[in-house]
Amino acid sequence: MHASTYATTDTGRGRRVRPLPVVVAILLAATVAGCSSDKGPDLTDSSPAFEGLPHDVVVQSLADPSLQEALKATDPSDRVQMAQLNISSTIFCRDALHAYQVWTTTGTTPVAPTVVEPQTPAAGFDAFMNEWVDAVRQIISSGDPDNLRTWLLAGGAGCHDTVADPGANPNRTVADVLQGS
């Protein structure tokens, strides 16, 4: 167990007791050290980490303030994985919602969505997304669309707050669609 080096907290500082040049030098050194210890990958929509993913979804995800806050609070070595998973799971959520809608509209049992992967998935990417695919595959094999609806509405970091169709409405989430709001 260790305290986070990446937490965005208010540390406060002691009162000034040293001559000004010394204080300035110490603050400068601390700032440089702080920056270098928290230096994560520079993730932009043109980063190599996102090659193979749809550019519009990459742009949408990186513009999400909650993802940006999550990335800041995460160990720099895990940030690429988090961003890739955020983008691919967003696509997967939209595809799963579409599968549910087709299922309930036509009565035809859908096929579980596949994962849209980046060209170079980070370590842990496949393990995470495979869990999602397996879960949805099992749910579909249950034969009851309500089970897929429950999974899509799951409150714990799942699909419920994913924007369903940003082109139609940038604020309407999967939960909004399923709950008819």
Binding site: D10, G12, E69, A157, G158
Partner: protein, 138 residues
């Protein structure tokens, strides 16, 4: 006699197959930890200890209890998945429990910040931090 043995063997094999499909019920696990979280949530975000907890049961329950806070504080708590998506935030005090149902399988990190701005730093500048002690059941 032989037919009876064959039937018994078929029964044992089919029972085992049923168990494999259903799988054993995963028992929940409880762990504890602590980290420094901000007392100035209007200016600073969540803190975490970056310890990942793997929640096995798809659509199971995860709960976080605030075991202690020093200096005393109520907290806004959540948990973040590997894909950067968070649980809906809940406010709790010491011995309070935030709970989430229908949690997907995955690894989660505990996050917390004070639920209100207050001075945890005495005469020093800024509001400082408090130590958030927690217990997570997943």
């Amino acid at each position: 006699m032989q037919k009876r043995r064959i039937l018994a063997a078929v029964f044992v094999v089919s029972a085992a197959a049923t168990l494999m499909v259903a799988g054993p019920a995963a028992a929940s696990v409880t762990n504890s930890g602590s980290f420094a979280a901000t007392c100035n949530p209007s200016s600073y975000g969540y803190a975490t200890d970056n310890v990942g907890y793997y929640h096995v049961t798809n659509l199971g329950t995860v709960s976080i209890k605030q075991k202690s806070s020093s200096p005393g504080s109520t907290s806004t708590v959540t948990a973040m998945s590997q894909n950067g998506k968070e649980f809906s935030a809940q406010n709790i005090g010491d011995n309070g429990v935030a709970s989430w149902a229908n949690v997907l399988t995955g690894t989660y990190h505990v996050e917390a910040k004070s639920s209100y701005d207050h001075n945890c730093n005495g005469v020093l500048p800024g509001d400082g931090n408090y130590t958030f002690g927690y217990e997570i059941t997943y």
